[in-house]
């Protein structure tokens, strides 16, 4: 068929371009604008060049927040992925148990971030919190407001509670797509439970697992609301992740220039990681 070339077709894309410009490009440009200038308010700006960027990359505070963030992401991945697989493997495949399990699993995902934060903030308090009170009553000294370790434990447990379901649901979707014949063949081949997992279930879950890891990594790397509500980044700076640090700089100290520089670097890191994951995934698909 003859193709019609008509550049007026670009007008059809225009509404989207306008929308994206207003929602993303223009705000981003203002951030770029702030990142290379200094201001003391009243719309008076002084050119600062790359000063803020240099300062940021030499600041311990930034690198410490980054390290905390990476450690946090690593820990929750190390817990949520195996735990998610384990739960998915043990969920019923048919019968009334399926909807019950699915709904139970979906519940934490449906709760807004700040509500999750509030739930755990109260839950963990050692004066009125159900968890905090009884843990202390058992003789364990637990206080997430004062002890950095306890604060970390609280935030990690909260994240595991909130997000393991996502890994479970993705893995479960991978598992139920395996035809019965595979399990029957494995029985006939005399495969052990472990061999079934290793050679049938794990390969079939590989793709969804990759997506799960990607999503959980990105999300945990950008985590803000829950630790902000529970610990506010404390005690001290012990749970101050990049995003919390950013908000402190921008809105707490009103250092718009450094905060803008930090936003851009943060944004570039996320962009870079997205690209890496995307490449890995597409390569993986191509290989198949």
């Amino acid at each position: 068929m003859e193709k019609t070339w008509n550049n007026r077709a670009w007008f059809l894309v225009l509404p989207v371009l306008v929308l994206v410009a207003f929602s993303a490009v223009i705000p981003l440009m203002t951030v770029v604008n702030y990142s290379v200038q200094d201001t003391f308010g009243n719309n008076v700006f002084f050119w600062a060049g790359t000063e803020w960027f240099e300062e940021l990359l030499h600041s311990n505070r930034f690198w410490e927040a980054m390290t905390r963030n990476l450690i946090f992401s690593f820990i929750i991945l190390a817990i949520e992925v195996p735990l998610g697989i384990f739960i998915a493997l043990n969920m019923p495949k048919k019968g009334w148990g399926v909807p019950v399990c699915l709904v139970l699993m979906a519940l934490p995902l449906l709760i807004p971030w700040n509500v999750v934060g509030t739930i755990w903030q109260v839950f963990g308090r050692n004066d009125i919190g159900l968890l905090g009170y009884y843990v202390n009553a058992l003789g364990i000294d637990y206080n997430y407001v004062q002890d950095p370790f306890d604060a970390w434990v609280t935030i990690i447990v909260m994240d595991v509670w909130h997000w393991t379901s996502l890994v479970v649901l993705l893995c479960y979707a991978g598992l139920v797509s395996i035809p019965d014949a595979f399990y029957q063949a494995a029985k006939i081949d005399g495969a052990s439970r472990w061999a079934v997992f290793r050679y049938i279930q794990l390969p079939k879950m590989q793709r969804v697992l990759l997506i799960a890891v990607l999503l959980r990594f990105m999300d945990s790397f950008m985590i803000y609301t829950e630790p902000f509500v529970v610990t506010g980044g404390g005690p001290g700076n012990s749970t101050t992740f990049l995003s919390i640090d950013l908000v402190k700089t921008a809105l707490g100290q009103f250092d718009l220039g450094p905060a803008a520089a930090m936003s851009l670097v943060y944004f570039l890191i996320i962009l870079l990681l997205s690209w890496v994951f995307y490449t890995v995934m597409t390569n993986y698909d191509a290989e198949r």
Partner: protein, 360 residues
Amino acid sequence: MARIDVHHVRHSYLPNPQKDEDFALREVHHAFEDGGAYALLGPSGCGKTTLLNIISGLLHPSHGQLLFNGRDVTNLSTQERNIAQVFQFPVIYDTMTVYDNLAFPLRNRGVPEADVDRKVRETLDMIDLASWAKKKARGLTADQKQKISLGRGLVRSDVNAILFDEPLTVIDPHMKWVLRSQLKQLHRRFGYTMVYVTHDQTEALTFADQVVVMYDGGIVQIGTPAELFERPRHTFVGYFIGSPGMNVLPVAVEGRTATLGSQRIELPGVPKAAGGAVELGIRPEYVRLGRDGMAVQVGKVEDLGRHKVVRARLEGRDIAAVIGEDETVPAEPKVRFDPAGINIYADSWIVEMGRVEVGA
């Protein structure tokens, strides 16, 4: 290798089966001889896969017993029964190489690696995939994958039987033919007991020495392809096997004569006690179209290349006849029934006739 006795087996998928209709398998009582090639043939939902899964141990029958070489294996697991089964969709272990796929069942059973290597290489030669040994299994075509599924069964030389559950469904037509003849060869060379489930009559008739025709949860006839063709025991077998299927006409029988409307048809023998609804069955191949006999109105003629199928009406009933590629339909067409091809059915089941075989 083993002789497999299916001893009064009934199976229902319901927890509390009461009526006959609750049973997917109403009652099967049959012996699969050691080294035989059997086909279980029947329409979808007739219970053939259920029977196969009961033999392999994937299903436990509600009633009845299963014997391998006289030993009761009803309560043994699939592994313990030592059965190989090939499924409709090729099952391969994606992440393994072709070699490892074949070695898998042996390694699971703790066979020493030297023996594994020898057996796997033998099997690779058998299924013609020796040059693919080191390749990842997921890159293969459907028929190669299906060969691997088969190979995983062949690699265990001591299997009691190899069961096939419509194994060629996803294979391209020309490869079907190749695989089928390879299976046949393997059977001849190694003498495995093979049971092959299919709803494709060509597949069943070309593969098996004995075809077991199933219908509605039971076996309606067991026989060689020729027997199924010449003497279908049930009108269903007549319809189901052959293309086009057998003509079945309601008749009244008296002595050696059947009456169809105003026509009288001479039978090859006297049917023994034909009560109930009596029908005459005759395959289109035995309907002779010519200038004498019973007048028919010819509808259409289908030219199938090797022969033609004539669709006609006889006494208000549809009837099909097969004629040679070079024959033509006469101006005033009439049909005769070759006595050798006439069968009489009462309530759908065949009635014996004291047949006077012509020329025998």
